[in-house]
């Protein structure tokens, strides 16, 4: 096989073909090389660097910034989930918040404490975390045949209905959710008897509970991000893309539409459930109103601003969407446009950040549909072609 490739000369073994790629990263002599999880050395390098930097970040940051970092990581998990459904498989969903809520309440029931009429079994994280993904996934499995019947905008409208119905159920199920406006405490992140939301002393270094919990989220995130990347390059990932690009054509080619859409729904709901469970711990207290339409829009913003059908785009989007409010807060000291409540100014900080979300969704879709990831591609291509313009 490799002897036919232009890169190989007399040596035909695999190692030499890998070595000869060094100066020509985009030259693939075998199909499996192109499909590898890191198909270029640059990708592998950047990923390792990003993981290392992120793992080191909590040591130099304040507690509230570490907490923000955890939120980013959790939003990235949820964003990857929505991206599998909307970006890869092309099924627009406004119902992501419902599945996040489902995950959060599954976790809370299994891993939370019982108090004032609210059910809580107090189980270990090793039990509630997987189940927080599996229960929404099963619900996704039940919804999927219905969702597979409708296409495009109809699906967006259907999932919108799901959010409203879900909010109603959450509000009514007092014994699980604490009821409207009251809420309940979330699950407790105790893994094999070790509390992941408590101060820890490791090798003489004191880590506060936010840092400890950040690392827990980060590990979950890494596992799920790699799993998603793996799924995307598998035959299921290719089936997703085929369904997204032209579902009838995909069906003609032998892709089972119902099965593919169901799989996308189930996987996406699983990711949403895990993200919801972790997010509820960051919130500290969850009410049925947390899981409303606006949370769904936040996640749409994550993938549309970050970039559709890319894992790194989902992560960039999460950084952006979670980081933006903080940035607005910091900048509001310098820009007279925003102010805290009751101090004059045109908008409050909260209003300004919501408006920016809306504007950015519009601007990115109009000007750069590939999102932040697309901006990165532009920068990369500029330097790749340098000194030529293309």
């Amino acid at each position: 096989m490799s002897s036919t490739g232009p890169a190989s000369s007399s040596r035909t073994d695999v190692r030499s073909s890998a070595r000869s790629l060094r100066g020509r990263p985009l030259l693939y002599t075998r199909y499996s090389d192109e499909l590898r999880i890191f198909n270029t050395a640059a990708k592998r390098g950047w990923t390792i660097a990003a993981i290392a930097v992120t793992a080191a970040l909590p040591f130099g940051l304040d507690r509230d910034l570490v907490s923000l970092l955890s939120t980013i990581v959790v939003f990235a998990i949820g964003g990857i989930g929505l991206n599998i459904l909307t970006g890869y498989a092309g099924q627009v969903s406004l119902g992501h918040a419902f599945f996040l809520g489902l995950g959060a309440y599954t976790a809370a029931v299994l891993g939370g404490e019982e108090s004032r009429g609210v059910i809580g079994l107090g189980l270990d994280m090793a039990i509630w975390l997987p189940l927080a993904g599996i229960v929404p996934a099963v619900v996704g499995l039940l919804v999927a045949p219905l969702a597979a019947r409708v296409r495009g905008l109809y699906l967006a409208i259907l999932t919108l209905g799901l959010v409203f119905i879900g909010e109603h159920i959450f509000k009514e199920a007092d014994s699980i959710t604490g009821g409207a406006g009251v809420g309940r405490a979330p699950a407790e992140p105790v893994l094999f008897g070790v509390d992941l939301f408590a101060t820890k002393e490791i090798l003489g270094y004191r880590m506060d509970r936010f840092t400890v919990f950040f690392y827990a989220c980060f590990v979950v995130f890494l596992v799920m991000a790699f799993a998603a990347r793996n799924l995307a390059r598998s035959r299921f990932g290719r089936a997703f893309a085929a369904v997204r690009d032209r579902d009838v054509a995909a069906e003609v080619m032998g892709v089972n539409l119902l099965r593919t859409k169901t799989l996308a729904f189930v996987v996406s709901s699983f990711y949403a459930g895990i993200a919801g469970a972790l997010l509820s711990i960051i919130f500290g207290r969850i009410t049925p109103e947390n899981w409303n339409l606006f949370l769904s829009i936040d996640f749409l913003a994550v993938i549309f601003i970050g970039g559709l059908a890319t894992i790194s785009g989902s992560i960039l989007g999460a950084v952006f969407v979670v980081g933006l409010p903080k940035l607005v807060q910091v900048l509001s000291d310098y820009i007279p446009l925003a102010s805290d409540v009751g101090q004059g100014g045109i908008f409050t900080v909260f209003q300004l950040e919501s408006i920016l979300f809306g504007l950015l969704i519009v601007i990115f879709l109009v000007l750069e549909p590939r999102g932040l990831y697309g901006l990165w591609i532009r920068v990369r291509n500029y330097f790749k072609a340098w000194p030529f313009s293309y």
């Binding site: 109603h168 032209r246 919501s354």
Partner: protein, 298 residues
Amino acid sequence: METFVAATISGLGTGAVYALLAVGFVIIYRATEVVNFAQPALMILGAYASSAFTNELGWPFWASVLAGMVTLALVGMIVERLALRPMVGRPSFSAATVTVGVFLVLLIVAFRLIGPNIITAGDPWGLSTTVVLGATVFTLDLAKIVISLVAVGAVGLFLARSRIGLAMRATSLDQEVALAQGVKVGQMFGLAWGISAGLAALAGVLVSSGASGVDATVALVALKALPVIILGGLDSIKGSVIAGLVIGLAEGWTKAYQPEYLPWLGANFDLVVPYLIMIIVLMVRPYGMFGTKEVIRV
């Protein structure tokens, strides 16, 4: 019997407003194949504009309603020109997501303008009641039915009879052919948004009329128009009127009878009934009662 008549009239009143909003969705969908998720924000802005004309400038009710509709029509046209025109020819779900962004921006603007205040339409009906078939009903509900049907009828007549209406229908049939016949297609898109936003403003006035008034969060009521267009068919004006009344009736009857007969479904169950109906319709007949069945080709 009295409960039944009262529930029916109040349901029809709500339904008429849904129909008004749904027709707005349908007009935009027919012109550009986009579901306009920004409609709730347009509705609440319309309610605000009209109430501002009445309460702050002291204009008569009808004049301020018209002024509010015209203001919102302009807002709709500007939004279309800036945010939606560049999306022509792109996948319809991208364009729909753009309207989600527009929704967020306009809604926050409305929140900022309204703040914690209550909007009142300053309408002449207030809490006055009329006796219909032996039951006492709010005059407001009757007014809602009449005004909505007149407005939808006027729009229908405009589309069916006027030259511009013909151009709009031509555009929704085939944009390129319409262009070749000298129709200014871009202007037709703008006009569709203008009409739709104007209708949304009128719906906002009707929602905020009555003695108590509403706050900014009522905007999400407009999303009830989505079950309506699913039931009626995405591209049928007739369908959205009938479906609007049906959904309104279902909601009114649920509100009247469910707390008594099916209390375990919980408080405010009537608010989710439209969405449940929508899910059933999507399962049985995805293109609605009067919608065009989608023809799919590779």
